[in-house]
Symmetry: C2
Amino acid sequence: MPSPPAPSVTVLGLGAMGSALAAATLAAGHPTTVWNRTPGRAEALAAAGARAATTVREAAVAAEIVVVCLLDHASVLEVLDPVADALADRTLVDVTTTTPEESRALATWAAEHGIDHVDGGIMAVPSMIGGPGAEVLYSGPRDAFDTARPVLDRWGQSSWLGDDPGLAPLYDLALLASMYAMFAGFFHGAAMVGTAGVSATDFARRAAPWLAAMTSELADYADVVDRRDYGGPGQQSLEFSDPSDILRASEEAGLATDVVAAVRALVRRQVDAGYGADGFARIVESIRNPGHDAGAVRADAEQPIVAGGTS
Amino acid sequence: MPSPPAPSVTVLGLGAMGSALAAATLAAGHPTTVWNRTPGRAEALAAAGARAATTVREAAVAAEIVVVCLLDHASVLEVLDPVADALADRTLVDVTTTTPEESRALATWAAEHGIDHVDGGIMAVPSMIGGPGAEVLYSGPRDAFDTARPVLDRWGQSSWLGDDPGLAPLYDLALLASMYAMFAGFFHGAAMVGTAGVSATDFARRAAPWLAAMTSELADYADVVDRRDYGGPGQQSLEFSDPSDILRASEEAGLATDVVAAVRALVRRQVDAGYGADGFARIVESIRNPGHDAGAVRADAEQPIVAGGTS
C-alpha cells in the first residue's frame, strides 16, 4: 500500500529560519513553494527543487499548509491581509515571533476569513532545524495542529500546548528571553577575557560546557520559586551573588556593563529590601514586581524595607 | 609502601561554598580545620570530623594548605593581615571571588610576608563540588599550585592558567557573568510563563535542556567574534534578533524588564549605527565599546552613524 502523498507546503519569508524550514520540508519530499519579498533568497531552494513563487497570492494558493516566517506581527498582517481570500480553508502556521496578544489578534483575523490558524514558537536556531534537539511549540485549535503535523514534524519535536493561541508565543518569548540573556552574558565574558588577549574561541571552549552544566541548577531554582522558599537551606545568598565585582572588573577593563548592571539591579532591589541573606532565586521577585518594589515583605526581614532601589 | 599522608587543610569562611570545599577534603581523608566568623557554621563539619578553630590564628597554623573563601577581597585582607606571620611558608589558596587587580594586590601582600599564593576561581555551585563537571581555575606561581594540588583535585578538575595571578579571576568573573546572565534570563522567562499560571518547574523542564542545547552555538559565535566576520553568511541578523517583542510582552504582563532591556540596548546600539543586517554576534562590539559607540565603523554601512543609543 503506497503511503499517502506528503502534504504540500508554502513558506512565506526566507530569512535564515524560513529557509531552514523550507529546506527541511523539501528534503522530506513535501512539494514546497517559497516566497520572499526579495527574490534572490529563493535561488538555493529553487535549485534544490522548490517552486519559487513571484507573488504572495501564487504562493498562498499553491499548498495546503502555509507557513509564515517573517520579521514581526506587522509584517505578517501586511503580507497576508491582501490575500486572505486565497488562504480560506488552508492551515496557516505562523512561526513568526510575536507577543501572545498579537497571536490572539492573528487568530481572530484568521477566523474572520475562514482560515485555520496555529501559532508556532521555534525553540531552535536555523542550523538545528530537522536535527535532534529542535523543538517547536504550538498553540491553537488541536485539529488545525493535527492537520499540519506531518509537515511540522519535519522540523523537530512538535509540542502542542493548548487551544489559547497565546500560549506558544508566551513560552517562545520566555525561552528566547533566557537564550538572549545567556548569549549576551557569553559575549560579555568573551569581551572580558579578550582584554587579556584570550580569544573568544578559547573562552567558548570553557564557557559552553560550563553553562550547559549550570543548567542543571535550574530545576532546583524553579522549585524554590514555586514554593517561594527563598530562605531554605543550601542556597547561595543574594549578598554573595551580588555581581558588583564583575561590574567593577568590567569597568576596569573599559567595557560596557549593560548586562551585568541589569543582573545587579535585580539583586540589589532584594538586598536593599532586607533579603540579602535569602537565596539568589529571589531575584524573580524583582522581575515580578517592577517599580522598585521587592515583592511581598517578609515579616522577619532583618533590615528595614528601603523604598527605591539601585536600578 | 604506604601512600604519603594527605596534606592538612584549613578552610577560612564557611558559607555554602567554603563548607562544600571543607566537606570534600574531609571526606577524602585530609586533616581539615575550619573557621568561620560566626561559629555555628562549623557544627556539621565538626560532627563529621573537622577541627573547628576558634580563632583565625589557630586555624592558620593548623595546616600546610590554607584555603580562604570569604565574601570579597576586603574581607580576605581583614581576616588574613593580622595573622600574616602565622601564614609564612604556607600555601594560601584564595578562592574568594575578586577582580584581577585585587588578586594581584593580594599576591603582592603575600609575597611581602613570605606566603605562597595561588588564586582560584571556582566554576561550580557548591552542590557540584567533588562531583563531575566541577572545574576550578588557578593562576599564580606553578610550584605553589603543584604543592596545593593534592588538595585542589578533591574539588574538581584543576586547571592552571598561568603565572599572572589575575588570569584566574578574570576567567572566573567572565564565566560568572555568563552564568548570572543565563540565570537572570531563566528567572525572567519563569516570571513570563508564570503570568499564564505555568509553574517555574514546568518552565525549567523545557528551559534547561533547551539552554544546554543552545550552548552548542557558542563556538560558532566565538569564531565570528575572533574573525570579526559579522557579515558572513548564515547568521541571524541583529534586526531579527531585536528583543523588542519580548520587552513588549513582558510589559504587557506587568513584569520588570531589566535583563531584556539590557540585551536590547546592546542590539540597538549596533542597529542604530547601521549594522542591522549583520549577525547577532556583533553585540560584542557594543560591550567592547562603551559610551554609545558601536565599534569600528564599517565603510559600507547603509545607514548613517547615529550618535547616542537606546540604552
